[in-house]
Protein backbone atom coordinates (compact mmCIF):
# COMPACT_ATOMS: atom_id res chain seq x y z
CA UNK A 1 0.00 0.00 0.00
CA UNK A 2 2.75 2.43 0.94
CA UNK A 3 4.55 2.27 -2.38
CA UNK A 4 1.37 2.94 -4.25
CA UNK A 5 1.07 6.49 -3.00
CA UNK A 6 4.59 7.72 -3.45
CA UNK A 7 4.95 10.75 -5.68
CA UNK A 8 6.99 10.32 -8.78
CA UNK A 9 8.59 12.88 -11.10
CA UNK A 10 5.95 14.25 -13.35
CA UNK A 11 6.09 14.33 -17.08
CA UNK A 12 4.48 17.74 -17.40
CA UNK A 13 3.63 17.55 -21.08
CA UNK A 14 1.52 14.45 -20.55
CA UNK A 15 0.13 15.88 -17.36
CA UNK A 16 -1.13 18.99 -19.13
CA UNK A 17 -2.58 17.03 -21.97
CA UNK A 18 -4.51 14.75 -19.70
CA UNK A 19 -5.83 17.34 -17.31
CA UNK A 20 -6.97 19.61 -20.09
CA UNK A 21 -8.72 16.80 -21.83
CA UNK A 22 -10.44 15.48 -18.73
CA UNK A 23 -13.37 17.80 -19.32
CA UNK A 24 -14.45 15.92 -22.37
CA UNK A 25 -13.00 12.46 -22.11
CA UNK A 26 -12.29 9.66 -19.74
CA UNK A 27 -8.76 9.08 -18.75
CA UNK A 28 -7.05 6.49 -16.69
CA UNK A 29 -4.86 7.04 -13.70
CA UNK A 30 -2.37 4.46 -12.85
CA UNK A 31 -2.25 4.10 -9.08
CA UNK A 32 1.34 5.28 -8.86
CA UNK A 33 0.40 8.55 -10.47
CA UNK A 34 -3.05 9.04 -9.10
CA UNK A 35 -2.00 11.82 -6.76
CA UNK A 36 -0.27 13.81 -9.44
CA UNK A 37 -3.00 14.50 -11.86
CA UNK A 38 -6.30 13.00 -10.88
CA UNK A 39 -8.84 15.46 -9.68
CA UNK A 40 -10.11 14.96 -6.16
CA UNK A 41 -13.69 13.77 -6.37
CA UNK A 42 -16.24 12.63 -3.85
CA UNK A 43 -16.45 9.39 -5.80
CA UNK A 44 -12.72 8.73 -5.37
CA UNK A 45 -12.86 9.52 -1.70
CA UNK A 46 -15.75 7.11 -1.38
CA UNK A 47 -13.74 4.40 -3.14
CA UNK A 48 -10.82 4.97 -0.81
CA UNK A 49 -13.03 4.75 2.27
CA UNK A 50 -14.58 1.60 0.90
CA UNK A 51 -11.17 0.01 0.42
CA UNK A 52 -10.31 0.70 4.06
CA UNK A 53 -13.66 -0.63 5.16
CA UNK A 54 -13.13 -3.79 3.11
CA UNK A 55 -9.73 -4.43 4.65
CA UNK A 56 -11.11 -4.03 8.17
CA UNK A 57 -14.21 -6.06 7.44
CA UNK A 58 -12.34 -9.06 6.15
CA UNK A 59 -11.24 -9.81 9.69
CA UNK A 60 -14.86 -10.44 10.76
CA UNK A 61 -16.64 -13.70 9.81
CA UNK A 62 -19.40 -13.16 7.24
CA UNK A 63 -21.90 -14.13 9.94
CA UNK A 64 -20.74 -14.39 13.57
CA UNK A 65 -21.86 -16.59 16.47
CA UNK A 66 -24.35 -14.87 18.77
CA UNK A 67 -23.32 -12.43 21.51
CA UNK A 68 -25.20 -11.08 24.48
CA UNK A 69 -26.55 -7.54 24.62
CA UNK A 70 -23.96 -6.90 27.33
CA UNK A 71 -21.23 -7.57 24.79
CA UNK A 72 -22.83 -5.01 22.51
CA UNK A 73 -23.03 -2.54 25.38
CA UNK A 74 -19.34 -3.00 26.16
CA UNK A 75 -18.52 -1.80 22.66
CA UNK A 76 -19.74 1.63 23.75
CA UNK A 77 -18.34 1.63 27.29
CA UNK A 78 -15.88 4.38 26.39
CA UNK A 79 -18.16 6.04 23.90
CA UNK A 80 -21.56 7.45 23.20
CA UNK A 81 -23.90 7.66 26.16
CA UNK A 82 -26.84 7.92 23.82
CA UNK A 83 -25.97 4.55 22.34
CA UNK A 84 -25.48 3.02 25.78
CA UNK A 85 -28.94 4.10 26.83
CA UNK A 86 -30.49 2.89 23.63
CA UNK A 87 -28.85 -0.52 23.90
CA UNK A 88 -30.04 -0.82 27.49
CA UNK A 89 -33.54 -0.03 26.27
CA UNK A 90 -33.20 -2.51 23.43
CA UNK A 91 -31.97 -5.21 25.83
CA UNK A 92 -35.31 -5.11 27.69
CA UNK A 93 -36.91 -6.99 24.80
CA UNK A 94 -33.96 -8.49 22.96
CA UNK A 95 -31.50 -10.95 24.43
CA UNK A 96 -28.93 -11.56 21.73
CA UNK A 97 -27.21 -10.03 18.76
CA UNK A 98 -25.52 -11.73 15.81
CA UNK A 99 -23.07 -9.61 13.88
CA UNK A 100 -22.54 -9.73 10.14
CA UNK A 101 -19.49 -8.58 8.20
CA UNK A 102 -19.67 -4.97 7.06
CA UNK A 103 -18.84 -5.62 3.43
CA UNK A 104 -21.70 -3.83 1.68
CA UNK A 105 -23.84 -6.98 1.70
CA UNK A 106 -24.70 -7.03 5.41
CA UNK A 107 -28.40 -6.35 4.91
CA UNK A 108 -28.84 -9.18 2.41
CA UNK A 109 -26.71 -11.57 4.46
CA UNK A 110 -28.48 -10.71 7.71
CA UNK A 111 -31.84 -11.06 5.99
CA UNK A 112 -30.86 -14.39 4.41
CA UNK A 113 -29.52 -15.86 7.62
CA UNK A 114 -32.40 -14.66 9.79
CA UNK A 115 -34.96 -15.89 7.25
CA UNK A 116 -33.38 -19.35 6.99
CA UNK A 117 -33.06 -19.52 10.77
CA UNK A 118 -36.76 -18.69 11.21
CA UNK A 119 -37.64 -21.49 8.83
CA UNK A 120 -35.25 -23.82 10.63
CA UNK A 121 -36.95 -23.09 13.94
CA UNK A 122 -40.48 -23.24 12.57
CA UNK A 123 -42.36 -26.50 12.66
CA UNK A 124 -45.24 -25.18 10.57
CA UNK A 125 -45.39 -27.00 7.19
CA UNK A 126 -47.49 -24.19 5.67
CA UNK A 127 -44.75 -21.69 6.41
CA UNK A 128 -42.19 -23.99 4.85
CA UNK A 129 -44.35 -24.60 1.81
CA UNK A 130 -45.02 -20.87 1.33
CA UNK A 131 -41.33 -20.05 1.51
CA UNK A 132 -40.47 -22.65 -1.13
CA UNK A 133 -43.32 -21.53 -3.38
CA UNK A 134 -42.34 -17.88 -3.15
CA UNK A 135 -38.76 -18.72 -3.93
CA UNK A 136 -39.77 -20.83 -6.93
CA UNK A 137 -41.97 -17.99 -8.12
CA UNK A 138 -39.03 -15.58 -8.16
CA UNK A 139 -37.08 -17.93 -10.39
CA UNK A 140 -39.91 -18.92 -12.74
CA UNK A 141 -41.86 -15.68 -13.01
CA UNK A 142 -39.92 -12.70 -11.73
CA UNK A 143 -36.29 -13.03 -12.81
CA UNK A 144 -36.81 -14.35 -16.37
CA UNK A 145 -38.37 -11.01 -17.39
CA UNK A 146 -35.15 -9.21 -16.64
CA UNK A 147 -32.13 -11.49 -16.83
CA UNK A 148 -30.75 -14.34 -18.91
CA UNK A 149 -31.27 -17.60 -17.04
CA UNK A 150 -27.62 -18.57 -16.96
CA UNK A 151 -26.64 -15.62 -14.78
CA UNK A 152 -28.91 -16.60 -11.86
CA UNK A 153 -29.77 -20.30 -12.24
CA UNK A 154 -26.74 -21.62 -10.36
CA UNK A 155 -27.30 -19.20 -7.50
CA UNK A 156 -30.97 -20.14 -7.37
CA UNK A 157 -30.08 -23.83 -7.13
CA UNK A 158 -27.75 -23.06 -4.24
CA UNK A 159 -30.47 -21.17 -2.34
CA UNK A 160 -33.15 -23.73 -3.14
CA UNK A 161 -30.91 -26.63 -2.10
CA UNK A 162 -30.31 -25.17 1.34
CA UNK A 163 -33.90 -24.10 1.82
CA UNK A 164 -35.13 -27.60 1.01
CA UNK A 165 -32.60 -29.16 3.37
CA UNK A 166 -33.82 -26.84 6.14
CA UNK A 167 -37.47 -27.63 5.48
CA UNK A 168 -36.70 -31.34 5.45
CA UNK A 169 -35.02 -31.04 8.82
CA UNK A 170 -31.56 -31.94 7.55
CA UNK A 171 -29.79 -28.88 8.99
CA UNK A 172 -29.21 -27.68 12.53
CA UNK A 173 -28.13 -24.20 13.56
CA UNK A 174 -24.41 -25.05 13.43
CA UNK A 175 -24.76 -26.23 9.86
CA UNK A 176 -26.68 -23.08 8.98
CA UNK A 177 -23.93 -20.90 10.41
CA UNK A 178 -21.23 -22.83 8.55
CA UNK A 179 -23.10 -22.31 5.28
CA UNK A 180 -23.28 -18.58 5.81
CA UNK A 181 -19.61 -18.46 6.79
CA UNK A 182 -18.57 -20.23 3.59
CA UNK A 183 -17.74 -17.33 1.32
CA UNK A 184 -18.82 -18.94 -1.91
CA UNK A 185 -22.16 -20.28 -0.66
CA UNK A 186 -22.87 -17.17 1.38
CA UNK A 187 -22.18 -14.84 -1.53
CA UNK A 188 -24.32 -16.86 -3.88
CA UNK A 189 -27.23 -16.56 -1.46
CA UNK A 190 -26.58 -12.82 -1.14
CA UNK A 191 -26.39 -12.43 -4.90
CA UNK A 192 -29.66 -14.27 -5.40
CA UNK A 193 -31.33 -11.92 -2.93
CA UNK A 194 -29.89 -9.00 -4.90
CA UNK A 195 -31.35 -10.52 -8.08
CA UNK A 196 -34.77 -10.78 -6.46
CA UNK A 197 -34.56 -7.18 -5.24
CA UNK A 198 -33.53 -5.75 -8.55
CA UNK A 199 -36.01 -7.80 -10.60
CA UNK A 200 -38.88 -6.80 -8.28
CA UNK A 201 -37.83 -3.15 -8.52
CA UNK A 202 -37.77 -3.33 -12.30
CA UNK A 203 -41.12 -5.16 -12.36
CA UNK A 204 -42.75 -2.46 -10.24
CA UNK A 205 -40.87 0.45 -11.70
CA UNK A 206 -43.71 2.97 -11.53
CA UNK A 207 -44.55 2.20 -7.90
CA UNK A 208 -41.01 2.71 -6.70
CA UNK A 209 -39.76 5.50 -8.92
CA UNK A 210 -40.96 8.16 -6.46
CA UNK A 211 -38.88 6.52 -3.70
CA UNK A 212 -35.61 6.92 -5.57
CA UNK A 213 -33.94 10.07 -4.40
CA UNK A 214 -32.29 10.56 -7.76
CA UNK A 215 -33.43 11.08 -11.30
CA UNK A 216 -32.40 7.80 -12.84
CA UNK A 217 -33.97 5.17 -14.98
CA UNK A 218 -34.56 1.90 -13.14
CA UNK A 219 -31.93 -0.05 -15.11
CA UNK A 220 -29.28 2.50 -14.29
CA UNK A 221 -30.36 2.65 -10.64
CA UNK A 222 -30.22 -1.14 -10.30
CA UNK A 223 -26.82 -1.46 -11.93
CA UNK A 224 -25.41 1.35 -9.78
CA UNK A 225 -27.06 0.59 -6.44
CA UNK A 226 -28.33 -3.00 -6.28
CA UNK A 227 -26.63 -5.50 -8.56
CA UNK A 228 -22.99 -5.08 -7.52
CA UNK A 229 -21.79 -7.25 -4.61
CA UNK A 230 -20.61 -4.25 -2.57
CA UNK A 231 -23.65 -2.01 -3.05
CA UNK A 232 -25.28 -1.28 0.29
CA UNK A 233 -29.00 -1.61 0.86
CA UNK A 234 -31.16 1.41 1.51
CA UNK A 235 -34.72 1.73 2.80
CA UNK A 236 -36.09 0.94 -0.65
CA UNK A 237 -34.12 -2.30 -0.97
CA UNK A 238 -35.49 -3.51 2.36
CA UNK A 239 -39.01 -2.57 1.33
CA UNK A 240 -38.71 -4.39 -1.97
CA UNK A 241 -37.05 -7.59 -0.74
CA UNK A 242 -39.54 -8.07 2.10
CA UNK A 243 -42.39 -7.74 -0.38
CA UNK A 244 -40.84 -9.91 -3.06
CA UNK A 245 -40.20 -12.80 -0.65
CA UNK A 246 -43.18 -12.07 1.63
CA UNK A 247 -40.97 -12.00 4.68
CA UNK A 248 -41.81 -9.46 7.41
CA UNK A 249 -38.88 -7.55 8.86
CA UNK A 250 -38.56 -5.13 11.75
CA UNK A 251 -35.51 -2.92 11.94
CA UNK A 252 -34.33 -1.16 15.08
CA UNK A 253 -32.74 2.11 13.98
CA UNK A 254 -30.01 3.25 16.29
CA UNK A 255 -28.89 6.75 15.57
CA UNK A 256 -27.15 9.12 17.91
CA UNK A 257 -29.65 11.87 17.34
CA UNK A 258 -33.03 10.64 18.57
CA UNK A 259 -34.56 10.75 22.01
CA UNK A 260 -32.26 9.14 24.55
CA UNK A 261 -34.15 6.12 25.76
CA UNK A 262 -36.05 5.35 22.58
CA UNK A 263 -35.19 3.03 19.77
CA UNK A 264 -37.28 3.46 16.66
CA UNK A 265 -38.51 0.33 14.96
CA UNK A 266 -39.48 0.39 11.31
CA UNK A 267 -41.84 -2.35 10.26
CA UNK A 268 -41.59 -3.76 6.77
CA UNK A 269 -44.56 -6.05 6.41
CA UNK A 270 -45.55 -7.52 3.06
CA UNK A 271 -48.83 -5.90 2.02
CA UNK A 272 -51.06 -8.97 1.84
CA UNK A 273 -50.25 -10.27 5.27
CA UNK A 274 -50.37 -6.85 6.89
CA UNK A 275 -53.79 -6.03 5.44
CA UNK A 276 -55.23 -9.32 6.64
CA UNK A 277 -53.77 -8.69 10.05
CA UNK A 278 -52.00 -12.06 10.13
CA UNK A 279 -48.31 -12.65 9.89
CA UNK A 280 -47.69 -16.36 9.47
CA UNK A 281 -43.96 -15.84 9.82
CA UNK A 282 -42.71 -13.92 12.84
CA UNK A 283 -40.86 -10.83 11.66
CA UNK A 284 -37.08 -11.02 11.36
CA UNK A 285 -35.49 -8.43 13.64
CA UNK A 286 -32.46 -6.51 12.45
CA UNK A 287 -30.42 -3.83 14.12
CA UNK A 288 -29.35 -0.88 12.01
CA UNK A 289 -26.48 1.34 13.04
CA UNK A 290 -25.42 3.95 10.49
CA UNK A 291 -24.15 2.04 7.46
CA UNK A 292 -24.55 -1.42 8.96
CA UNK A 293 -27.03 -4.21 9.72
CA UNK A 294 -26.83 -7.03 12.30
CA UNK A 295 -29.38 -9.58 13.52
CA UNK A 296 -31.29 -9.24 16.79
CA UNK A 297 -33.12 -11.89 18.82
CA UNK A 298 -36.31 -10.84 20.55
CA UNK A 299 -37.59 -12.37 23.77
CA UNK A 300 -40.42 -14.65 22.78
Amino acid sequence: MSDSIQLQPTDTSTLDASTESSSHLDHANDRTNAYEYSEYTAEKNQEYLESIRRETAEKTPLVCPTESMDDLLKEYSQGSEVYQQKITKLAEKHHTIRRCRGDGSCFYRAFGFAWFERLLNSKDPTIHQNALETLTYTKNQLLPHWYEGLVYEDMYEEVEGHLKAIVEGKYDSDKLLSIFQDESISNQIVMYLRFVTTAYLKEHFNDYKPFLDCDMEMDEYCSKYVEGMDKEADHIHVLVLTRALKVPVEIAYMSGSNALDQVNFHEFYPEDEASEGVLPLKPLVLLYRPGHYDILYRNE
Binding site: S21, D26, L150, M229
Partner: protein, 149 residues
Protein backbone atom coordinates in the same frame (compact mmCIF):
# COMPACT_ATOMS: atom_id res chain seq x y z
CA UNK B 1 -17.62 -24.57 -3.93
CA UNK B 2 -16.45 -21.50 -5.83
CA UNK B 3 -14.82 -23.72 -8.42
CA UNK B 4 -18.18 -25.34 -8.93
CA UNK B 5 -20.03 -22.10 -9.58
CA UNK B 6 -17.19 -20.80 -11.73
CA UNK B 7 -16.98 -23.84 -13.99
CA UNK B 8 -20.75 -24.45 -14.08
CA UNK B 9 -21.33 -20.87 -15.09
CA UNK B 10 -18.58 -20.71 -17.73
CA UNK B 11 -19.71 -24.03 -19.27
CA UNK B 12 -23.21 -22.62 -19.65
CA UNK B 13 -21.92 -19.37 -21.11
CA UNK B 14 -19.78 -21.22 -23.61
CA UNK B 15 -22.62 -23.42 -24.84
CA UNK B 16 -24.88 -20.39 -25.06
CA UNK B 17 -22.33 -18.38 -27.05
CA UNK B 18 -21.76 -21.25 -29.44
CA UNK B 19 -25.40 -22.18 -29.98
CA UNK B 20 -26.70 -18.66 -30.13
CA UNK B 21 -23.83 -16.30 -30.96
CA UNK B 22 -24.57 -12.56 -30.98
CA UNK B 23 -24.10 -10.93 -34.42
CA UNK B 24 -20.44 -10.27 -35.14
CA UNK B 25 -19.18 -12.06 -31.99
CA UNK B 26 -17.61 -15.51 -32.03
CA UNK B 27 -15.68 -17.67 -29.58
CA UNK B 28 -12.24 -18.19 -31.09
CA UNK B 29 -10.44 -19.98 -28.25
CA UNK B 30 -11.86 -21.55 -25.11
CA UNK B 31 -9.55 -24.42 -24.24
CA UNK B 32 -9.53 -23.63 -20.52
CA UNK B 33 -11.66 -21.71 -18.06
CA UNK B 34 -8.73 -19.40 -17.39
CA UNK B 35 -8.64 -17.59 -20.69
CA UNK B 36 -10.94 -17.19 -23.68
CA UNK B 37 -10.52 -15.30 -26.91
CA UNK B 38 -13.49 -13.94 -28.82
CA UNK B 39 -13.51 -12.26 -32.19
CA UNK B 40 -15.47 -9.06 -32.54
CA UNK B 41 -16.44 -7.67 -35.93
CA UNK B 42 -16.97 -3.95 -36.47
CA UNK B 43 -20.65 -3.37 -37.21
CA UNK B 44 -21.69 -2.36 -40.75
CA UNK B 45 -22.42 1.34 -41.07
CA UNK B 46 -20.00 2.27 -38.25
CA UNK B 47 -16.40 3.53 -38.30
CA UNK B 48 -15.17 -0.03 -37.65
CA UNK B 49 -17.08 -1.80 -40.43
CA UNK B 50 -14.96 -4.47 -42.09
CA UNK B 51 -12.46 -4.66 -39.21
CA UNK B 52 -12.05 -7.69 -36.96
CA UNK B 53 -10.69 -7.47 -33.43
CA UNK B 54 -9.87 -10.01 -30.72
CA UNK B 55 -10.94 -9.72 -27.09
CA UNK B 56 -9.15 -11.70 -24.42
CA UNK B 57 -11.07 -12.65 -21.26
CA UNK B 58 -9.15 -13.87 -18.20
CA UNK B 59 -11.19 -15.43 -15.38
CA UNK B 60 -10.34 -16.08 -11.76
CA UNK B 61 -12.08 -18.85 -9.76
CA UNK B 62 -14.14 -16.06 -8.22
CA UNK B 63 -15.90 -15.34 -11.49
CA UNK B 64 -18.74 -14.27 -11.76
CA UNK B 65 -18.54 -12.64 -8.31
CA UNK B 66 -15.38 -10.95 -9.53
CA UNK B 67 -15.06 -9.32 -12.95
CA UNK B 68 -13.07 -10.97 -15.71
CA UNK B 69 -10.00 -9.15 -16.99
CA UNK B 70 -10.84 -8.04 -20.52
CA UNK B 71 -8.40 -6.58 -23.06
CA UNK B 72 -8.02 -6.28 -26.81
CA UNK B 73 -5.10 -8.25 -28.22
CA UNK B 74 -3.43 -8.08 -31.64
CA UNK B 75 -5.12 -5.46 -33.79
CA UNK B 76 -6.23 -2.83 -31.24
CA UNK B 77 -9.15 -0.59 -32.29
CA UNK B 78 -8.39 3.12 -32.40
CA UNK B 79 -11.01 4.55 -30.06
CA UNK B 80 -11.08 7.32 -27.42
CA UNK B 81 -11.69 4.75 -24.64
CA UNK B 82 -9.29 2.05 -25.81
CA UNK B 83 -5.59 2.37 -25.05
CA UNK B 84 -3.00 1.13 -27.53
CA UNK B 85 -1.95 -1.61 -25.06
CA UNK B 86 -5.46 -3.08 -25.38
CA UNK B 87 -6.83 -1.79 -22.05
CA UNK B 88 -10.44 -0.68 -22.22
CA UNK B 89 -11.95 2.13 -20.18
CA UNK B 90 -15.46 0.78 -19.53
CA UNK B 91 -17.02 0.93 -16.08
CA UNK B 92 -18.75 -2.48 -16.17
CA UNK B 93 -15.30 -4.10 -16.36
CA UNK B 94 -14.24 -2.49 -13.10
CA UNK B 95 -16.25 -0.74 -10.38
CA UNK B 96 -19.64 -1.38 -12.00
CA UNK B 97 -19.11 -5.09 -12.55
CA UNK B 98 -21.87 -7.31 -11.24
CA UNK B 99 -22.63 -11.04 -11.51
CA UNK B 100 -25.71 -10.14 -13.58
CA UNK B 101 -23.26 -9.52 -16.43
CA UNK B 102 -21.74 -12.21 -18.62
CA UNK B 103 -19.16 -12.68 -21.37
CA UNK B 104 -21.97 -12.06 -23.84
CA UNK B 105 -23.15 -8.82 -22.24
CA UNK B 106 -19.57 -7.52 -21.91
CA UNK B 107 -18.92 -8.21 -25.62
CA UNK B 108 -22.16 -6.45 -26.54
CA UNK B 109 -21.22 -3.42 -24.40
CA UNK B 110 -17.84 -3.20 -26.10
CA UNK B 111 -19.37 -3.64 -29.53
CA UNK B 112 -21.83 -0.87 -28.78
CA UNK B 113 -19.02 1.35 -27.48
CA UNK B 114 -17.25 0.92 -30.84
CA UNK B 115 -20.43 1.46 -32.83
CA UNK B 116 -21.30 4.76 -31.18
CA UNK B 117 -17.84 6.23 -31.80
CA UNK B 118 -17.82 9.33 -34.02
CA UNK B 119 -14.06 10.00 -34.34
CA UNK B 120 -11.36 7.39 -34.51
CA UNK B 121 -8.73 8.74 -32.18
CA UNK B 122 -6.77 7.29 -29.27
CA UNK B 123 -7.38 8.43 -25.66
CA UNK B 124 -5.68 11.80 -25.05
CA UNK B 125 -3.48 10.38 -22.29
CA UNK B 126 -2.61 7.25 -24.26
CA UNK B 127 1.18 7.67 -24.29
CA UNK B 128 1.46 8.35 -20.61
CA UNK B 129 -0.95 5.60 -19.65
CA UNK B 130 0.67 2.93 -21.80
CA UNK B 131 4.09 3.78 -20.32
CA UNK B 132 2.91 3.52 -16.71
CA UNK B 133 0.08 0.95 -16.72
CA UNK B 134 0.43 -2.44 -15.07
CA UNK B 135 -0.16 -5.57 -17.14
CA UNK B 136 -3.70 -5.97 -15.84
CA UNK B 137 -6.16 -3.13 -16.45
CA UNK B 138 -7.83 -4.11 -13.17
CA UNK B 139 -4.80 -2.58 -11.39
CA UNK B 140 -5.59 0.79 -12.88
CA UNK B 141 -7.63 3.30 -10.96
CA UNK B 142 -10.10 4.36 -13.62
CA UNK B 143 -12.15 7.49 -13.62
CA UNK B 144 -15.28 7.49 -15.70
CA UNK B 145 -16.40 10.87 -16.90
CA UNK B 146 -18.33 10.37 -20.01
CA UNK B 147 -20.98 7.82 -20.87
CA UNK B 148 -21.90 9.26 -24.23
CA UNK B 149 -18.89 8.45 -26.43
Amino acid sequence: MSTTLFSKRLSKELIDLKINPPAGIEVAESDTFKCWKLSLDGVEGTLYAGERFTLEFRFTPNYPMESPEVVFVGNIPIHPHIYSNGHICLNVLYNQWSPVLSVRSVCLSIQSMLSSCTTKEPPPDNNHYVKTAKASPKQTQWSFHDDSV
